[in-house]
Subunit: 352 residues, 4 copies
């Protein structure tokens, strides 16, 4: 059994990781830490785990983590893991980081998008960006994997095949994202107070969203281009879980649906967690996060708009699963050489 740790286990991503790891047949949870809840039972914070574990949160203690764990998930706020990870790597542990601290290859991205300088820019090249559909082989060899941002992964997966085929005008890529409240984390504030947050269609970040940086990085890598620029706007909508990324792409040439199908089928064939959803009938013709809640799937669909020669691509995920804890466990499986789907098999709950 692999001894895994979860640093920052009391947030929603941490809780989802613990839920998945408890059901994973090849790991044992050696420890989980929380600054706020050190000493408290895990089930007091994650009530779904009541009766399933007697684990308690430990107070953060890096050397204890080094001693007790073989692999560590860091589910800490942005800016924290970049201080912890060097010691973990030095001690020979594998690390799966769920914050933004190791996502960008270019150190200059951090002051530009996050407002701080990276303390260990030398590690950025060592880290592998943790989207298995793009970097599976590198993830398998990595000591440090940087899991993508939740909106980034939905956007990247929706756009990658079209980017690879360079189907669209690369400087006019609109990505209009809708996200549920769990994406804002577990810390209360006025903006997440139920009476304020319920029923919103709130444009909380119409420009300048930080995930823009990693989306551009990855799509330029896929396209072998430096020209992809993302016009991203993020909206908060009235659900707890779920992200829908709607990408509006202006096509360079007139193409038909068959060519789009070919690009997407080719890119994603045999991917265990990608479903192409473009059905001829039924209520569920296109991706909707409602149909992936609790699963690790990214559903991708598309439609062609002949009126303006536009390709609309839709990517739907559960932000706590494929957008965070689920993809992290998928990366774990790849890093350890296990079946990629281990611990990620239960279907989505529907309806919920």
């Amino acid at each position: 059994m692999l001894r895994v740790g979860v640093i920052g286990g009391s947030g929603y991503t941490g809780g989802e990781l613990l839920r998945l790891l408890l059901g994973h047949p090849q790991v044992e949870i050696a420890q989980t830490t929380s600054r706020e809840y050190g000493g408290e039972y895990v089930f007091r914070v994650h009530p779904n785990l009541r009766g399933l574990t007697s684990l308690q949160f430990a107070k953060p203690d890096l050397e204890k983590t080094v001693k007790e764990c073989d692999l560590v998930f860091t589910a800490t706020p942005h800016g924290v893991s970049s201080k912890l990870v060097p010691r973990l790597l030095e001690a020979g542990l594998k690390v799966i980081d769920l914050s933004a601290d190791f996502r960008l290859k270019n150190p200059e991205g951090y002051p530009q998008w996050y407002g701080w300088s990276h303390p260990h820019p030398e590690l950025l090249q060592k880290a592998v960006y943790g989207v298995p559909e793009l970097h599976r082989s590198d993830i398998g060899k990595a000591q440090l994997v940087a899991c993508p941002g939740c909106m980034a992964v939905a956007s990247i997966l929706a756009l990658a095949p079209a980017a690879k085929e360079r189907l669209f005008e690369e400087d006019k890529v609109v990505v209009d994202v809708k996200i549920g409240s769990s994406g804002a984390g577990a810390k209360p504030s006025r903006s997440t107070h139920h009476a304020e947050r319920a029923g919103v269609i709130r444009p909380y970040k119409p420009t300048g969203h930080r995930h823009t940086a990693e989306i551009e990085q990855e799509l330029n890598w896929v396209a072998g281009s430096g020209a992809v620029k993302i016009s991203m706007s993020a909206h908060a909508v009235n659900v707890v879980r779920g992200i829908l990324a709607t990408a509006h792409l202006f096509l360079k040439e007139k193409i038909g649906l068959a060519e789009v199908w070919k690009a997407y089928r080719g890119f994603y064939q045999n991917e265990p967690f990608i479903r192409l959803v473009r059905d001829k009938k039924g209520l569920y013709k296109l991706p909707d996060p409602k149909t992936v809640i609790g699963s690790n799937f990214c559903d991708i669909g598309f439609d062609l708009d002949k009126h303006v020669n536009r390709l609309v691509v839709l990517g739907a995920i559960d932000n706590l699963m494929k957008g965070a804890a689920g993809i992290a466990v998928q990366n774990l499986n790849l890093m350890m050489g296990w079946d990629e789907r281990t611990g990620l098999l239960p279907p989505a709950l529907y309806p919920v």
Copy 2:
């Protein structure tokens, strides 16, 4: 007291009209009809009106309507009012149509976007498109006013000032719309069944939405251009009331916020139902339909994205108010020469 009728009073738009008209000091509701609920008390269908009216739905009878009414609202399904309105006009009544039947100036738009030929194309020029912010003076003189589509009015009002100043590339205008379930009307179906509809972020019309036609018509009129083409995608989100239109505009030239402010302030100064929302602080910095529910306001805000030289404009309305019944009453007031705000004064409910 003006004797008004509401043909098709049992839907959500009809109900909202009846609610507003009951509180309007210069009208009496002479009759309301319903094919499904003829003979039934209005409060059995619109439970908020219980105790406030003993009105009953009449079965449709056009000659009775002609006799009893001075002005008629037609809140019927698309394709119905075009058959009723000619007789009403001939009899000298004023008509405010809430369907799509008289919105398009070009008769060819009907086969293209709606799939049927217009039976009275000669009336299309006579009808005034009922957006007071664009056609106030013509509405004041009109016998027939065609109220806009709910998503159309949010989009048009968000875009008109920028279109007038021709700030953006006119063939790459993305309008990503989010709408609540009341927009789908009162008729049950699998797609609106609560367990299916709750919690969705559903891309129900990523291309080809019919409102595209009227948005293009009006923006080309405002811009004095024929080049504006709209890339519209519509999403169903988890609210009952509310529309947010997010317009992504690629600017022709680099401009600053001051120029955007100037365009929008100039266009909308003294408008009673437009609020420009771009606040420096607080939770409500930008438009969100949650803050207009129950009111006739269209809140409009914007942000500049220097990264891609994009202008994001946001328009938020209550789809049953400014998107349907509220704007219809505003048009009524203009047609009758009354204060435009009559019967439309109560603020939005917040929080709700």
Copy 3:
């Protein structure tokens, strides 16, 4: 114009009061105070009022309030208004208190239910309990009115007619209440964080709810009895506004629906804000808060359970209206000798 003040105007009750008072034809809002938002524009806190008022919150200053106002609403946390009200009364102002500080007649109720001793027990007899359906005439003569608790008013109005007729066993009165999140106020916490609060059916106060005291006080007064004891349990459900009180009453004798109708019709005839809802057909046969949102109505309905000789009575209100600000304005109207319905006419929004 009566000069009114709202002390504590930044909470949800304060915001709803300001919304109603702005539309009230016989008052002007002389001032509103807020400890947290002193100096801030009202519309920054209550976004529905943007464009409708340029009022700013004042910092609390009791002598300024005395000087500028004829009548004051105190919408402060429990325990605060009991310190402010004596000075306001002494200065000759009328006061409508929305906290619990003057609801109980028996000073011993405060240590028992609220955990503190009342600083001015002599004022408790002077205060009139502000339920017009029970104390209309006294309210008309009062200088100090204590508005009821939101769950209390729904429960009292549902039970009063049956209590007056002494239909039920008075020591086994189950009141099972369901309430929306706005009832918890505007202050964020983990329990009201959207991701935690959305989707709950949470028994947050199965026993010992403070409103028990005032419900018993009023029902014993109505019944002319000292024997009524309330078994109250409060649940948080997934709405923003709304309260449903379900009262389960064990009948002393077998009675028929006609007798129940007689008791309720007799008690509430001519009441402007009570609707008896027990319809034979349609979807809205019984009270549901969804049909009163935004209005001052209390809908009351009932059903007889012959299987166990039980009477189930249902009371539905909007907790911010009939449960707080609406009933406060109704009390204002009565205290000033105005038409009781002034400013309270707009129907509920439906659907919302």
Copy 4:
């Protein structure tokens, strides 16, 4: 591998069964039928199963079912399975019925509560009522198991320990139930239309709910009494999944919390799917369906009300799991002699 069939696989209970059976290591789904969707892919109706099964619905054909299956789940509307089950039993199949058709032991209950006479009253004694916590041993030997009603199981499990100890007055047992929209099934209607159903706190069955019969049957069995009578009222609330049963019990004698704990701990020790939830701290002190969504747990908690000598007991379940498909799979495991938890291990999703 056991060959199982699901008759009536297109409803929500059928869909949940298919989800669970797909992940069950000891069964294969031999067939599933649907009158409405015969010939259609399962994933078109249950979109969470897309990519996980290529199963298609078969049209109902009882002889085909007999041939292809060893055990059948009947998830048909009330009144249907009583016609199918005799043939299935005769052919030697095991049957787990999810309708009401075999729940009542007394044939007279059917005309009284359901309005029809049972066509095979002789089978009622043969059927075992499928609540493992009460009838585990009999379920293990049964050929026919009748799964309980969703509200019934939450109520029975909440009340059984107190009933066994005969703690409460048996003729005054109030059970106030709150349920989500999936409990109404997959068939659209006005009452389940999203705009109507969203936001309700709707007393849809204040008296006369059919589950009363089975709750009384089981509690009288547990208590060894004939005196337990249930005062049940059912409310629809604004969630998709979840039931909370709030039982209000008037105690015969004054007892302390220790005695209640003893009764509940004793009754439920070692039960794999019962959690006693009465915590001293944290947000999750008492049962709330939100914390069991997707799991087979029934969370049970309680509180003592000294003011009126009342015991409040709370039972929370996911209506599609412990209230339907989950308990059905638990019964399957018992009937087959497998570990009771097989296929039911994944924790609840939280938050969702």
